[in-house]
């Protein structure tokens, strides 16, 4: 069973040949995004790899501080410019590196350099020549994420592999529309948190609150009006923030958004257990809907909006979200309406179902907020 050992200390100095290695091998993360003729992105290297490349630990105390990283910024930028080449067609792109920042990854701090490059005309293909750390640590690899026109390619760079060439597709606006519509539907159906929030607000739509008790609505019209108001308010609100975030007008940190989304579910669900807002729940839907929009936006940000089809893609994604949402409402609400006068619905689903949702959301909240 000795994958990990094979110890010997015979005449040689060698101790052992471990197989069960720990620690992630040395990876650099190169992410590039292409918008027509413009190229932007970032390169991330472990601080330790930055030290190996240019020597960051000026005082030689075995620690690299933020001050030392900043002092090494020019050396780092020059090193990267000398070891990373981007070519559109036959010509090198003019590359510029911005000020260094820090990014936390699971295996420690990474230095983060923003990249912008101009490659002449509209790019049909991109070649990447990645030689970072090829002398210092031949096992280093560059993990490339290349996004162009909403399509994402990945590749492993470095090592013995030579110049790598990537063909860039330019999909039709219609193709982008379908792709983003699908992504929107998929996101709402798989992202159970948005649905639970909406359901928490819709569960009481078929009921009336009278003298601290839930009563069934007698006719369909008010229930229908309740549902329409909540769904419309939610849709309107998240469409606003989704659009603002998609066009980079406002950005919220992902963890904050995710935490508050979890919190919104708790609030909405608890409102069914300890009713406070019994009329006009659409206001809750609107207020928190604004935050859910930022959640949708983070998905969209991961996909990227294709140049030339930004608006179409945004509309398609939003339409996808609404379609998925509507499908769930149509599936659930008639059932809720039929069951509305049963004790099962009023004293079972309302308090206990809502409590369960609140409990689940609390777990999410703790996970997201406390990391």
């Amino acid at each position: 069973m000795n994958t990990a050992r094979n110890p010997w200390l015979l005449s040689a100095l060698l101790l052992a040949a471990p197989l069960a290695q720990a620690h992630i091998a040395s990876n650099g993360f190169l992410s590039l995004r292409i918008d027509g003729s413009k190229l932007s992105g970032s390169l991330e290297l472990a601080i330790r790899d930055g030290e190996l490349a240019v020597g960051l630990d000026r005082d030689g105390d075995g620690k690299v501080t933020w001050g030392e990283l900043q002092a090494g910024q020019t050396a780092l930028q020059n090193y990267v410019l000398g070891h990373l080449r981007l070519l559109g067609g036959a010509e090198s792109c003019a590359m510029e590196l911005g000020p260094v920042q820090v990014n936390e990854r699971v295996d420690g701090s990474y230095l983060w350099l923003p990249i912008s490059a101009a490659c002449g005309g509209v790019l049909k293909r991109l070649s990447v020549d990645y030689k970072i750390l090829n002398v210092e640590d031949p096992s280093h690899r560059g993990l490339l994420t290349l996004s162009a026109s909403g399509a994402i390619q990945t590749a492993v760079l470095g090592g013995s592999s030579e110049l790598r060439v990537f063909e860039l597709d330019h999909p039709s606006p219609w193709g982008a529309f379908i792709e983003y519509l699908r992504a929107g539907i998929w996101h709402i159906l798989s992202g159970i948190d948005h649905l639970l929030f909406l359901l928490s607000l819709l569960l009481p739509a078929v009921l009336l609150r009278r003298q601290s008790r839930w009563e069934a609505v007698s006719i369909a019209a008010p229930a229908f009006a309740n549902i329409v108001k909540v769904v419309t308010a939610f849709t309107l609100a998240h469409s606003i923030t989704l659009s603002l975030a998609a066009f980079d007008v406002i950005r919220l940190p992902g963890r904050l958004t995710e935490s508050v989304i979890a919190a919104s579910i708790i609030v909405a669900a608890l409102n069914n257990v300890f009713p406070r807002v019994t009329e006009g729940r659409w206001r809750i839907a609107f207020a928190f809907g604004l935050l859910h929009g930022f959640g949708f936006a983070s998905v969209l940000a991961e996909m990227g909006l294709p140049k030339g089809a930004r608006l179409v893609s945004l509309v398609a994604f939003n339409l996808g979200v609404e379609t998925g949402q509507l499908a769930v409402v149509i599936a659930v609400m008639p059932l809720a309406y039929l069951l509305r006068s049963t004790a099962f619905y009023r004293r079972g689903v309302m308090p206990w179902g809502s409590s369960a949702i609140a409990g689940l959301a609390l777990v999410w909240f703790l996970q997201r907020a406390l990391g």
Binding site: A4, L9, A25, V54, G62, Q101, L111, P275, R276
Partner: protein, 395 residues
């Protein structure tokens, strides 16, 4: 009337407080998740381990011209890689060896070091080819023979591994030769007698690394014999001698976890989170104990496996299969990974995860090739017997 008004107000108050606390927490929590500029110049971003300084790069340049510098330096890096469980050192060693391996007729020592590197990266056939080259020049090279025995053993090629051990035992001190031979006999049909033979060895005068090898073989044999108390003693002795032996620490943790002693396992693994194979055991223990820190451990492991996957490497396939089975609860995916792993690696632990995953996935027949291998080789392992017996019964 007043009580009728009072109750809802209390409820409203409760809801309000809760909402306020929740929103406050949300607002206060650090919102990293992206690049940032630390607020203080003296914020420490990373600590550099030995050999990872810029200055060391110039030592490596020196090694490019002098093999008497290159060999000890590569040995140092490989040693560091083992002690710290850090893959980067293998890259440093590779950098040092590269110019010497590319020579027309490299020195045997260089070839053996290169083979060691390749073995560490699970590039088994490349490693064996390199050892063949070394042994064709220097047939009585003990390191080459021992690595050869180890690689062949991992691959489940026991007769060839036995031949390498025989060669090895002719060159080295007889007790070390016996250790190589008996460890192998313990896998192919003679577990009881091999364990007894190892117990006869007196470790007097051995270096701690040699003792550690002895302890770990004894511990693993005891595990396969089902003598968990004895195994625990061997593992403890090894760890008191070589606390940095993360391999034995992992085997010991496995034993504790199998016995449902997750709390003790966590204690044993405290402070070892930076070693992914040990972090895997931590995650399993956390799952058994419903520890909320599981989410964090699991996220780190996922990222590590994903990075490896993206690099197209398969160093930790066994660990990935265990992770999918024990932490993620995805037996079908675990089985697929365990099968891929089994196609390459054939150690008892590789078999164990395959049989467990096959059983959990409701597809015990998938483990049949492994069980056949076990039967034909005479491999004996109580842990596998318990599982496969149950698997057969459930069919």
């Amino acid at each position: 009337m007043s009580s009728g008004m009072g109750r809802p107000r209390v409820q409203q108050g409760r809801l309000f407080t809760l909402g306020a606390v929740v929103l406050l927490c949300a607002a206060l929590q650090k919102a990293h998740g992206g690049p940032y500029m630390p607020s203080s110049d003296s914020a420490v971003l990373a600590e550099l381990p030995a050999g990872a300084h810029y200055a060391d790069v110039s030592a490596r340049r020196l090694a490019a011209g002098r093999v008497d510098v290159a060999i000890p330096l590569a040995q140092f890096y490989i040693q560091q890689s083992r002690l710290r469980g850090d893959l980067r050192y293998l890259g440093y060693a590779q950098a040092v060896l590269a110019p010497w391996v590319q020579q027309k007729s490299p020195m045997p020592d260089v070839l053996v070091l290169q083979a060691t590197l390749q073995q560490s990266r699970h590039e088994f056939s490349a490693s064996l080819a390199m050892l063949e080259r070394a042994l064709s020049v220097s047939p009585r090279n003990p390191q080459a023979l021992l690595i050869q025995a180890t690689v062949l053993r991992v691959l489940g090629r026991y007769p060839e591994a036995g031949a390498a051990c025989d060669q090895f035992s002719r060159i080295v001190e007889s007790r070390l030769g016996a250790l190589c031979i008996q460890s192998l006999r313990g896998l192919n049909g003679h577990l009881e007698s091999a364990y007894a033979a190892l117990l006869q060895i007196s470790p007097q005068g051995w270096l701690s690394s040699e003792k550690s090898w002895w302890y770990s073989e004894l511990g693993e044999m005891a595990v396969r014999l089902g003598r968990d108390d004895e195994a625990q003693r061997w593992f403890q002795q090894d760890l008191s001698l070589v606390p940095s032996d993360f391999y034995v620490r992992g085997a010991y943790a496995d034993l504790l976890l199998r016995q449902g002693r997750a709390g003790e396992a966590l204690q044993l693994l405290q402070g070892q989170e930076s070693f992914e194979p040990l972090l895997l055991r931590i995650a399993i223990a956390q799952r058994q104990m419903h520890d909320p820190r599981l989410a964090q451990s699991s996220a780190r492991l996922k990222a590590a496996f994903a990075a490896e996957e993206q690099r197209g490497e398969a160093v930790h396939r066994r660990e990935l299969a265990i992770f999918l089975l024990e932490v993620e609860g995805q037996p079908t995916q675990s089985l697929a990974t365990a099968l891929k792993n089994w196609a390459v690696q054939r150690e008892p632990d590789d078999m164990l995860v395959l049989v467990s995953a096959a059983k959990a996935a409701g597809n015990p027949a998938a483990a049949q090739p492994a069980l056949d291998f076990m039967r034909t080789q005479g491999l004996s392992d109580v842990r596998v017997n318990v599982l496969s017996g149950a698997a057969v019964a459930s069919r």
